[in-house]
Symmetry: C2
Subunit: 210 residues, 2 copies
DNA sequence: AAAAGCAAGACGAATGTTCGTTTTCTGATA
DNA sequence: TATCAGAAAACGAACATTCGTCTTGCTTTT
């Protein structure tokens, strides 16, 4: 017989996780002490340890959330592709990442995760999955645009997708270290480098809106 | 009057720094304790603290070395450009980064630095300088290739350079997390996307080798 | 050339603090 | 009343750093 409702438990867990996210974004994983986390969450040590067995478990939960969000964002923009050029699609993804970073610091958290993945095998595996997911979406995107004659066929779509994944990751770094303007530049460059092809099949009526 | 020669002091400092690099690459900045560093260097605590006032100072020294090396690498390959296509130049830089990473883990260290720069303002400033340096080199490169008609003129060279910086950073991430094959793909894609233009001024005899 | 003096490198145990985690106990709820 | 979430205190371990002491080898003096 639980003493509290399941939704109360979920609320507590979210309370801990959102506090942890704030702490981690402020100080990083290792410079955040569990005491910092207790204070930020307004809870005692015992309460937090009732929901997470260790600090690493909190880190993993936060990191997984962040990676899930990034993948969902890319999947959404890259998949729901009307007749837009590759450059427009990439610029759109970048704009969305930038907006989300402003809202919840998704970029800074991504960098923390990259660094932590170097020493944490479980996290490294998840990060590889994330990159594989991005790679898959971008491969489809690249193949589509190759078929439309918008991209050269000289390299496999998989290779071009790797380049696009690198573009995303590097933009997140620049977004976090240099600010949003740098990322706007990347978007502008992408539009210029990969514009709509001059001659191509109509590719279904291009809806001009969003 | 020093008791030991200057080169002995330099040797000791290098001994500490190379031990620190090994420790940091193995465990990260914060999971490496000073005791770990003492053991790896084969020195006492007092000896290390004679050369560096604090752990942060060691971290800063290592990080600066790494950033200097990265910038030198890019500067070398991107500047000494004969008549190669942009794609070939980028693939060349990537290959060099990959080789250097295999030798001394420059990629992993870069990721540690990115993460640390989020909380360390001094390091963040240096990282911004590094990115600015890369951006400068790549801007010149992009402008050259725009002039040659190899790249569209629709975007300023500065914006294209931002994209190339992102490409580099993202490749370093993929190199470290996924391994060298991913980066080879990026190089191949760069060659395909930015080949030598079909018609252009001869641009000095193209050396077929390397 | 030999010996004495001395500045500075190196040592490593000890410091107080802070770490992540555990244990104990209380009070509210079903 | 029986149960358990949560608070609070406490745990040993590990942390970065300091400090008093020894050691070393150059400089000066004879």
């Amino acid at each position: 017989m639980p003493k509290v409702s399941q939704q109360h438990r979920n609320a507590r867990r979210d309370q801990i996780l959102s506090a942890a996210r704030r702490c981690f974004l402020r100080d990083g994983f290792h410079a955040t002490s569990m005491q910092d986390l207790f204070a930020e969450a307004g809870l005692s040590a015992g309460a937090v340890y009732r929901y997470f067995a260790s600090k690493d478990e909190v880190i993993l939960a936060i990191a997984e959330d962040n990676m899930r969000e990034v993948l969902a964002m890319i999947n959404e923009v890259a998949t729901a592709d009307p007749g837009r050029s590759l450059g427009e699609v990439m610029a759109g993804v970048l704009a969305q990442v930038q907006a989300k970073d402003e809202a919840d610091g998704v970029g800074g958290m991504a960098i923390l995760v990259w660094s932590e993945a170097l020493r944490n095998p479980a996290l490294a595996a998840r990060l590889q999955l994330l990159l594989a997911g991005m790679h898959k979406d971008f491969t489809r995107l690249a193949a589509d645009h190759q078929r439309a004659g918008e991209l050269p066929g000289g390299a496999p779509a998989e290779a071009i997708a790797r380049l696009l994944v690198a573009l995303m990751a590097g933009s997140i770094l620049q977004l976090t270290i240099l600010g949003p303007d740098a990322v706007s530049d990347v978007g502008a460059a992408a539009r210029a480098l990969w514009p709509r092809p001059a001659s191509s099949r109509p590719a279904a009526g291009a809806s001009p809106d969003r």
